[in-house]
Amino acid sequence: MPIDEIVGDALDRAVSIEMRFAVGLPRGVTTPLYDAARVAAGGSMSFRAAQALQQRVRRGDHVLVVTGAGAAPWLPKGETDGPLGAAALARALEIGLGAKPILLGEHRNLPSTIAATEAAGLVVVDEATFKQRDGCALALPLPLGVEPGQRIAEELFQRFAPSCVAFVEKAGPNEKGVFHSILGTGRQPDLMANAHFLAELAAQRGALSIGIGDGGNEIGCGAILEAVQQVQPFGRKCICPCGAGVAAVTRCDHLIFASTSNWGAYAVAAALAGLLERPDALHDAETEHRMLLASLAGGAMDGAYARLVPYVDGTNAATQASIITLLHQIVSNGLTRYQRGF
């Protein structure tokens, strides 16, 4: 018997435990935003997203997995939060549902995303090969800026007719169309891939959309806009000239709010593994470690330290592996029904 929503809640909780610096980055924000997202979802976030994936993604369907955060000068080739989650989700969709994943991100973010995906066991190939065989992924760059963002969204939907678009740690614009870091600094749209147009097209074309975030400035967090405005120090008012706050307005069909976006993606992979009764759809702790090192080799840095070290959002490699161990145990015991005799 597959897992149920109680198990899904345990998965959600395991990935929303806050572990932040004593000072510097916003603190005490994960629990209230998790609570708001849980209410908005009306149930377990990861479970409901996985259920929707199971229902709507058919074997051979294209799925778009969008990631890439950070920009020069601090994170010129992106950060370690995002690529690993995207890789894990792509892997789970391929192994679990037979989908054909297409990874998308700014040019600067693709090397680490490709490296993490290949370390997860999913080879990234050219488009001709991608069409010929299973067990692989395609990676394509997204252009920067508003109009190119609109154009590529149209083009990708025409070329691939995806049944799902998932966003992992993908910045989205606020109500004035400006992107922000969680500390309130602005990023003009021409520095970023405007990936939110993919979410808008997904809604128009009937594709499933999933947003995974950990701050409130990411695509998908539009579902908890008011909570982000209230809870995040720069939620309502940023320090850039736009003054409209960091809260992203773009909504998806499903939001998974976690303390680190990668972990939110792992929770979805775990829920899918539980629903399919295939624990191997979630990668293991050793693979996690390889993925982290590979993403570093691809240039991704830890987003909190802004250094090329094996950390994610300031938490060390052993902690990433421990999260995976917890998720696997939640799934495996969620699939076990052993009544001891006493």
Binding site: R13, A14, S16, E18, F21, Q339, R340, F342
Partner: protein
Amino acid sequence: MPDIVGEAVDKLILLEIKNRGMPFGILQPLYDAARQAAGGRPLTMLAAEALQRTLHRGDTVFVLTGAGYGPTMPKGESDGPPGAAALARMLYRGLGAVPVFVCEACHVDPIVAASEAGGLMVKPFVQARDRRLGAALAVAPTEQSRVKDWVASIYAEMRPKAVISTERLGPGANGIIHTATALPLQGPDSQFDPCIDISAVVDRANADGIFSIGIGDHGNELGFGTIYDAVVRTMPKGDRMATVTRTDLVVPAMMSNWGCYGIEACLAFLLQRPDLMHTPASEERILRACLNAGGLEAMFCTTDFAVDGLDGETSMACVQILHNIVRKNLEPADAGLTH
């Protein structure tokens, strides 16, 4: 700031990961009741703050543990001693307290093995008290009729300033101790080896106004009498298995060990001494020592590397994440890489 840490720790140790053949969907209601009874703040941090306030250098603290009986688990189980050992070590190293493990004779071996594997030696009480050589033992008599005098004697000799109970079962409304699934462990219907009720140790603390904490995972453990109604409402056969013995603070957890580790982590935070926490590697040593000494995992009653149906690796992961919570929350953003 402590509440940010406390929330994270509580959330981690409360993750419900049991196999679905066991009572399920129970932890949150028990936790909600316990937190409400304590005034609404995160429980592990409340416990740590109270211990820090209460215990001073040289003060004795009783740590009660030991669950499981023959024929299934003649020396008890792997939930209990590891948590007691880890928390006792933090009280010893962090606060300078003198921990005394209070238990039944049948449970001594795994408790001593777990404690010494974790780096806390078990010595005669006088050596522990006067020369600070580690923890001590207070072993209950094997006849129930002698328990009352024994309790009086250990209070007179050791004068505890706090009493902590973890995974130590307490009597239900009918005066009998039950398993989590409401099987009697005492009386004519018991199918287990004799079980001695040492709840009088906690009753005496309550009578004398000595601070007490009860840590458990089902509601039949000493302390859960404080949230008796919630246990009866939440647990299958709750009216039979629920204990009536109360403590000042109740800490429900996925397994009792994790409740202890959570309090240990909060103490490390308050003391700003994450280096005193036991590590994932020492967690493995402690669990294996406990198992090898006869403190068995409680699903199949074997020496398999597990606790309450969870892999030992999962407890190691829990310890790793606790470390990370504490260290991050003590770390200024510009301190560089410190762990």
